[in-house]
């Protein structure tokens, strides 16, 4: 026999109490937090890196502003044309890194591998050109001990180059994980963090290039 009270409830539905409404709210679809832990970690690292480079740039500004002539006339000029091309190479690596990030979000493993390989290759080309230019400058007499000009140049640009080396090593590690199929749309934290670091290194180079080579 049907429960008569059920018919009454159907005919005259009573609004649930406020606390019950809260309880019966349908569950939200599961979403990731707006900022992943990996992103927070890498942004914290980048904040520290930014302040580190700010200190170096602050010292550079003091030395450069204090010098009566900059660069000193007896030292070789910095290779501007080659460095322009090298800057474009590094910016291209940033673009391919963004392409790799988009590929992993679409789970396009083929394009991801291609873009990561291109990024690594462009980073290595940047380092090789920087290294060869340094060798030439040292042969022409611009050494670390050739006064404030050489010291600040090698400290700033060398520290950036060390960061590019670190980024390439990191990229190699991520590439290894991609080869093993461990980087997918659902597990992209490693690539995400590496991409943020890589783009930071590219942006930092733009600032250093504008500051040191002009």
């Amino acid at each position: 026999m049907a429960d008569p009270s059920a018919a009454v409830v159907r005919r005259f539905p009573v609004a649930p109490l406020r606390r019950d409404r809260r309880r019966v709210r349908p569950p939200e679809p599961p979403t990731a937090p707006p900022i992943s832990n990996a992103r927070i970690a890498v942004v914290t690292l980048l904040v520290a890196e930014t302040m580190f480079f700010s200190g170096l740039i602050g010292a550079y500004l003091v030395f450069r502003g204090s010098a009566p002539v900059w660069p000193p006339p007896d030292l070789p000029q910095l290779p501007l044309a080659v460095t322009w091309v090298n800057t474009l190479v590094l910016m291209a690596s940033g673009v391919t890194m963004i392409g790799a990030l988009r590929a992993v979000r679409r789970d396009d493993q083929r394009r991801l591998r291609r873009d990561l390989a291109l990024t690594g290759a462009l980073g290595l080309i940047f380092l090789a050109v920087q290294g060869s230019e340094w060798v030439r400058l040292i042969h022409h007499g611009l050494t670390l001990s050739a006064g404030v000009y050489g010291a600040t140049f090698y400290t700033l640009i060398g520290t950036h180059a060390a960061h590019v080396v670190g980024a390439v090593v990191w990229l190699g590690l991520v590439g290894w994980w991609v080869r093993r199929g461990q980087v997918t749309a659902a597990h992209d934290a490693a690539l995400d963090a590496c991409a943020i670091y890589w783009i930071f290194v590219c942006a930092l180079w733009l600032a250093l290039f504008a500051l040191v080579y002009r």
């Binding site: 939200e28 679809p29 599961p30 979403t31 990731a32 707006p34 900022i35 942004v43 904040v47 930014t50 302040m51 700010s54 200190g55 740039i57 602050g58 010292a59 500004l61 003091v62 030395f63 450069r64 502003g65 204090s66 009566p68 749309a185 659902a186 597990h187």
Partner: protein, 105 residues
Amino acid sequence: MRASATHAPLLRRVGVVCALAALALLAIDVLVPAQSFAQGCAMCATYLDGTDPRSDAFKTSILFLMSMPFLVVGTVGGWILWMYRRKPAGRPDLRLLRAEREEAS
């Protein structure tokens, strides 16, 4: 549902902690006796009030270094705020979705 509403308790808690920290710093500054006569270091006292080009160089560098923490914190804070306030339509948690599908099957 907006992400800002989801994370409102967390943001409120962070705000309360920041306000308490600011109050504590203010209290320390007011209550702890310290004699300071706005003295600069020997370097600043020597260079910063002259016509030496080093004076301008120091000032430029000081302004740059003073502005950087504000720039960095502002950028990161703005980014965090933007990420929390925008609609969470972007990326579902694929691991949770997959686990749910596996449970359902």
